[in-house]
């Protein structure tokens, strides 16, 4: 399978170079080729979503077949998936019944999960100093509390000096956020170059 690995690497590198060149060069037929490749990427990504969902079903089916712990829950998952996908294939995502699935199941569950996070965050903040007591922890909690204090509405209006707090803390946070963004961009650049150079082959070329 070495020839397959080589061909895969050639495909990845060539497609990447064509798309990257399109950022800097607009010589025909480079833009068209770039558009073609990106369009293919959309299709492949969509297909990949379906493959991933099928894999989810296969894993749960295996759990059910082998009667592992949590197999009943897996059966519930597979059943709901099949019903939803079946109705979706037939009715389409815009059908009110499909919207029912969104309004009745997806949104409430996810929103509720996010809601209990509020209690969890308070609980974790209270126990932070029990687990770790250092300057960074104090700074972290202090910054969070001060920021919430500045943001918090009061019956008497905003607290005095909230603008200063927001200015200072905002400046510091922006500086840190910019550093983080630059760091993320550098990491993305490095990772992408490794893929284009063939050093990393996450597509199974190794």
């Amino acid at each position: 399978m070495r020839i397959v690995a080589i061909l895969s690497a050639i495909a990845a590198i060539s497609a990447g170079i064509i798309v990257l060149l399109g950022y800097f060069v607009s010589i025909p037929p480079l833009p068209d080729l770039r558009l073609l490749l990106t369009d293919w990427a959309i299709l492949i990504a969509g297909m990949a979503v379906l493959v991933g969902i099928y894999n989810l079903v296969a894993v749960q089916m295996e759990k059910i077949r082998t009667r592992q712990k949590g197999g009943a829950y897996g059966a519930l998952l597979v059943l709901s998936l099949i019903i939803t996908f079946g109705f979706g294939l037939l009715l389409g995502p815009e059908d009110p019944w499909m919207r029912l699935a969104v309004e009745a199941v997806i949104v409430p569950v996810e929103a509720a999960l996010m809601a209990i996070l509020a209690v969890t965050l308070i609980y974790a903040s209270i126990r932070l100093f029990q687990r770790r007591m250092d300057v960074m922890s104090v700074l972290f909690l202090l910054a969070a509390v001060v920021f919430m204090l500045a943001i918090m509405p009061t019956p008497f209006g905003p607290i005095p000096g909230d603008w200063f707090i927001l200015l200072v803390e905002g400046a510091i946070a922006r500086g840190g956020a910019r550093g983080l963004l630059i760091g993320i961009a550098l990491g993305t650049l490095l990772t992408g170059l490794r893929v284009l150079f063939g050093m990393d082959r996450p597509y199974g070329g190794n």
Binding site: P31, L35, D39, E94, I126, Q130, P153
Partner: protein
């Protein structure tokens, strides 16, 4: 070459007379002369045939601590009269065992000197008696070889480490020993601790009477029948054994290597031990040692360091009546089995105190380093094994082996007859084999080895049990073992050549075992599963969580249920919010606007609350055509919910009356992440066929609704990269509506003006609502509860952190204590 399982062949000692060193020959001559004097005394004494292999160096052990006695103990012990005397020095130090150890180490055999040390050193007694006697010159027959002299010198060196006190000297004619010593001094390297062995001649000289008896065998060395001329006979004529008491005469040899001082009660055992000396060479009685003479008077050639060893008869004629009894034993079958043939078991089966089987004949051997008093028993076992038994009991069977070992020690060059391969296990009889000095020097004709020499051949003891007979094996034809047979024993088919079974049990002390057990416990503790947190700790955590949950639910529920809107909203808009407001105001009327719905259903409530004022304001002001797009599958399902909750599609007057497919379009799901965004920016209709615009620049504005910075970053990057190549996009504002968790990370893009404006979180939305006079929306509804929630969080976090801080300090102090 002695093969495994073979018995040493007997040799006629007399045949080896010519190759003896000169000093040894002198000693022998002297022995013969003195033997006549002692013949009568020995004849009167009972002879005890000892068939045990002589312990050649047993007497050396007793001589180690001897002082500068002229007569060596072994010579002193030869004299039966003196043997009865308590002539042994009381101090028998471990030196003999040390010397024995040296000899054993030289022979490469395991040592077991416990028996040696425990047993009576009878030879040392003999030595002590001999030391009291004036040293007598001991002349060997001509034909002594340099090898013999060297052997004697080596024996002297090894025995000198015994450092035993000199035994009581006995009056004995041991002048021949002086000759031995003198001759050894001439040719051999004189070693420092020679005094012990050097005292032998003195001992011999101090014990003329016993020495004369004891040295009678020397007359028979080389095959002489009369003490005066044992070695004048031609080769092949063994010297008849001296009839003198062989046992007591040979006791010194038994005491060789022993540490214990010879006790006065040892004479009978010494008599037994020395019997082999009587039999050596066929002499019936040991020659009387010559009177002790000063060592200076002793010629070098006749001053052996140690008494000469016995040699096996060189021919069958040695077995004739002319052979003294002590030499006869040398020609007999060895009482001990040959090496490798269960030799160890043989030793174990025999009583070391004296119940020895009949001595086997001793094969003729080189006369290098022949010791007086050697019995005729074949010294078949190696020196070390001989010492095991000889040291324990003055067995005559060990004596020949000792003598053999002494010969090996003395010989510097291995004569041809030693190096010639052995043909079979049989008594060696030199039929017609006459070795003349000239022949020995001129041509190295193969000669059958004496038994005691054959016994000295190293063999592998552990193979002995399963080794097949060497006579069944064909001799090797090529290689270094060409001509030899049985060097590599041929095991029967099916047998596995396994090494000696060794115990694999680790010999660990109690302390080491205790340490190993402790380490094992420690390791077991590391791998063992740790017990879970106690229920009290888990219960306290659950209680805290329940309290917090109840508190939050009650407080927020109350605020929501009361529908309170008492908390004022600040009208000071942040810069980015103001910029967003301005950007909305600048959107052309009825222009298409792209709204990217990139948030998850989890934060649908927040984003709907945050984006509602902006969208409402934009719809109210500019009536744009909204195109909703999502880069997540569930995002497309939130479009209707968004439009519904923001009352965009609500019927007027409550809503804005937007119709799907007319005023707003749901473009659906755009997969591929950044690649999909890039594709959509390049050509919207290519990426999304349902797109209502051909070029992306046709959108008047792009509004990204996101709950995570990653999605917003992708759109910012791709749009900004596209703007550099498409100037038409330069005036297209990019607005961000982000959740409170994504806002801080997207602020740098606002600072860099890549994002025209941003509304982040409920506070910004409430202010935007307040400033733009937008109908109260979700933001205002949530505002009071939001404020109370923040206040609750601040109070809980502050006081809870202080409480946990003190608790943690207390716990750490308790832990430190």
């Amino acid at each position: 070459m002695l093969q495994i399982g073979e018995k040493p062949t007997k040799k006629n000692t007399g045949e080896l007379e010519p190759i003896l060193p000169e000093w040894l020959r002198d000693v022998r001559q002297q022995a013969r002369e003195s033997a006549e004097e002692n013949a009568a005394q020995e004849a009167a004494q009972p002879k005890v045939q000892k068939n045990e292999p002589p312990d050649l160096l047993a007497g050396l052990a007793s001589q180690a601590g001897a002082d500068d006695d002229a007569i060596p103990d072994w010579l002193a012990g030869i004299n039966p009269a003196t043997a009865a005397k308590p002539s042994e020095s009381p101090a028998r130090e471990p030196a003999p065992s040390m010397a024995q150890d040296d000899r054993l180490s030289l022979m490469g055999e395991p040592e077991d000197l416990s028996d040696v040390r425990e047993e009576k050193d009878e030879l040392s007694e003999w030595f002590s008696r001999a030391s009291e006697q004036p040293g007598e010159p001991f002349t060997f027959e001509p034909g002594e070889s340099q090898d013999d002299l060297d052997l004697m010198s080596n024996l002297d060196a090894s025995a000198a480490s015994l450092q035993q006190p000199a035994p009581p000297k006995e009056e004995e004619d041991l002048g021949w020993l002086h000759d031995l010593e003198a001759s050894a001094k001439r040719s051999a390297e004189p070693s420092a601790p020679r005094q012990d062995l050097g005292s032998m001649p003195d001992n011999a000289s101090s014990q003329p009477s016993s020495g004369g008896e004891d040295l009678s065998w020397l007359n028979n060395l080389g095959g002489i029948s009369e003490p005066s001329q044992p070695f004048d006979q031609p080769q092949g004529k063994p010297v008849p054994a001296q009839p003198a008491a062989p046992q007591e005469d040979l006791s010194w040899l038994d005491n060789l290597g022993r540490t214990e001082p010879s006790q006065p009660t040892q004479p009978p055992a010494a008599q037994e031990d020395l019997s082999w000396l009587d039999n050596l060479g066929g002499t019936s009685e040991l020659p009387q040692p010559e009177p002790a003479r000063p060592s200076s008077d002793v010629p070098d050639s006749s001053s052996p360091i140690l008494s000469p060893r016995r040699t096996a008869p060189l021919s069958e004629e040695a077995e004739n009546e002319s052979l003294p009894e002590w030499l006869k034993s040398a020609t007999e079958e060895p009482s001990m089995p040959p090496l490798g043939a269960g030799a160890l078991s043989w030793f174990a089966s025999h009583d070391l105190d004296g119940n020895q089987p009949a001595a086997t004949q001793e094969s003729s051997a080189s006369l290098s380093g022949e010791m007086p008093g050697l019995s005729e028993e074949t010294p078949s076992p190696p020196f070390g094994q001989a010492q095991e038994t000889g040291g324990s009991t003055p067995s005559s069977e060990s004596l020949p082996a000792s003598n053999q070992d002494v010969d090996a020690l003395f010989s510097m060059d291995v004569p041809d007859w030693l190096s010639n391969p052995e043909s079979g296990v049989s008594d060696v009889s030199l039929q017609g084999a006459e070795i003349s000095p000239a022949e020995a020097g001129a041509s190295l004709a193969p000669v059958e080895l004496p038994s005691w020499v054959q016994a000295m051949r190293p063999v592998e003891a552990f193979i002995s049990e399963a080794a097949a007979g060497t006579e069944d094996q064909a001799p090797e034809r090529e290689g270094p073992l060409a001509g030899l047979r049985g060097v590599i024993p041929l095991l029967p088919i099916g047998s596995s050549r396994r090494p000696k079974a060794l115990s694999l049990t680790l010999q660990a002390t109690d302390e080491q075992q205790a340490g190993a057990a402790l380490l094992e416990q420690i390791l077991a503790g590391e791998t063992a599963a740790r017990p879970l947190v106690t229920s009290s700790s888990v219960a306290s955590q659950n209680v805290l969580r329940w309290v917090l949950t109840g508190l939050v639910m009650v407080v927020l529920g109350a605020m929501i249920g009361l529908r309170s809107q008492s908390m004022p909203v600040s009208t000071a808009l942040p810069v980015e919010v103001s910029a967003a407001s301005n950007a909305i105001a600048n959107i052309p009327e009825g222009a298409p606007v792209l709204v990217v719905v990139d948030y998850e259903p989890a934060l649908a409530g927040e984003l709907e609350a945050v984006s509602g004022p902006l969208l409402d304001n934009m719809v109210l002001l500019r009536h744009p055509n909204l195109s909703f797009l999502s880069t997540s599958p569930n995002g497309s399902a939130l479009v209707e919910r968004l439009v519904s909750n923001t009352k965009i599609n609500g019927p007027a007057p409550e809503g804005l009356g937007y119709q799907p497919g007319v005023q707003y379009f749901n473009l659906g799901y755009l997969p591929g992440g950044s690649a999909g965004v890039l594709a959509f920016i390049q050509s919207p209709q290519t990426a999304i066929p349902a797109a209502d615009v051909e070029n992306f620049s046709q959108y008047a504005a792009v509004i990204v609704l996101t709950d995570h910075a990653e999605s917003g970053r992708v759109w910012v990057e791709q749009l900004d990269a596209r703007k550099q190549s498409d100037p038409a996009l330069a005036s297209q504002p990019l607005l961000m509506v982000a959740s409170a968790q994504a806002g801080p990370l997207l602020q740098p893009y606002v600072s860099s003006r890549q994002v025209a404006g941003m509304i982040s979180g409920l506070p910004d939305a409430a202010r935007y609502e307040s400033v733009n006079n937008v109908p109260p929306g979700i933001a205002r509804t949530y505002w009071d509860a939001f404020g109370i929630g923040l206040l609750l969080a601040i109070i809980l976090i502050t006081f809870g952190s202080l409480w946990s801080l003190f608790t943690g300090i207390r716990l750490r102090r308790a832990g430190a204590e």
